[in-house]
């Protein structure tokens, strides 16, 4: 099982469905993870996921990269560590890590001269994340509906007064 991977992909989907802005921006301004309609989103999801999963599957299609993931599942490591572990050149390992990073399976961070690699950050479990997305959608709708209700109430008051006169 790899919940972190699911979370990563869910997060990506939330980002893309939230409109413009990628995952970096989404951290600061959480996108409305929309499920504006199940069918609508389904279409979007499938379109998006097929691209996303192509990248994931492509990344996983290589034995070294799978090994790297397994290794990073145990402990974070620098590219140098990984290169040594897998008896590869630094350049070769950089390429593999790049592919994994593009697929969203790995994140890297450079501190000083060392680039540390780790698995994608853990997020909410899918289920919770989905429910939250669904809730956010309705919540956003209802915020707008509040405005409509307020307006109708005002109108009713005005009309009521007119009628009484």
């Amino acid at each position: 099982m790899a919940p972190w991977l699911k979370d990563e992909i869910c997060l990506e989907m939330r980002s893309i469905l939230g409109g413009e802005g990628g995952r970096k921006r989404s951290a600061a301004r959480p996108p409305l993870a929309c499920r504006q309609s199940v069918r609508y989103i389904l279409n979007r999801m499938v379109q998006y996921l097929s691209g996303r999963l192509d990248a994931s599957f492509a990344a996983l299609a290589d034995a070294t990269r799978r090994g790297v993931l397994e290794q990073l599942g145990r402990v974070d490591a620098s590219i140098t560590d990984l290169a040594e572990k897998f008896h590869m050149t630094l350049t070769g390992m950089k390429k593999h890590v790049g592919v994994l990073e593009q697929a969203g399976l790995v994140t890297t961070e450079k501190v000083g001269r060392v680039r540390t690699c780790k698995l994608g950050p853990r997020r909410l479990e899918d289920e919770t994340a989905w429910m939250e997305s669904y809730r956010e959608l309705w919540d956003a709708r209802f915020d707008e509906l509040d405005k409509v209700v307020e307006e109708l109430k005002r109108k009713e008051k005005v009309n009521g007064r007119k009628k009484r006169k």
């Binding site: 099982m1 790899a2 919940p3 972190w4 991977l5 699911k6 992909i9 869910c10 989907m13 939230g18 409109g19 413009e20 409305l32 929309c34 499920r35 504006q36 309609s37 199940v38 069918r39 609508y40 989103i41 389904l42 279409n43 979007r44 999801m45 499938v46 996921l49 999963l53 994931s56 599957f57 996983l60 799978r66 993931l69 397994e70 599942g73 145990r74 698995l119 853990r122 899918d126 989905w130 997305s133 669904y134 809730r135 959608l137 309705w138 919540d139 956003a140 709708r141 209802f142 915020d143 707008e144 509906l145 509040d146 405005k147 409509v148 209700v149 307020e150 109708l152 109430k153 009713e156």
Partner: protein, 171 residues
Amino acid sequence: MDARRESEIPVKNLTTVEQKSDRELVVTRTFNGPPRIVFEAWTKPELIKRWWVPKSMGMSLVSCEADVRVGGKYRFVFVHGASEPMAFYGRYLEVIPDSRIVWTNEEGGENGAVTTVTFEEKAGKTLLVVRDLYPSKEALDAGRGAEAATFETFEQLDELLVALGASMGRS
């Protein structure tokens, strides 16, 4: 609990979502107005279009037709960016003024949910409950869009990862 809640008067009413069963999703929310007003906002197309697609979603409603009476049809057409317009449509099965609306979601084919919205008066406010009842568990899962797409593919990924013996060490 109710007394405490009322005395606090929340700034914003909470929206809650609950999966009541493997076929049913329930959304609840209170509105600061009587049912007749909230009901009106759910039944007049010119009002529906003002809130059904929240602005923050970056989508826009192209057209919104709703003939809210038993047997009447509705059709909402949306676009998102440059995407092809998509329509949601169905028909109203039950319409009880200020109290209850039931409709079908036919764009989902035979997996489409039947949605029931109830408007209940609570001290001048409205407790609104939206229930999506799917014909089967599978239909609900399929209707879950994100999950339907992801769970299936995730299962494949999981199988792949298991097959690879890649114990990720994080679960």
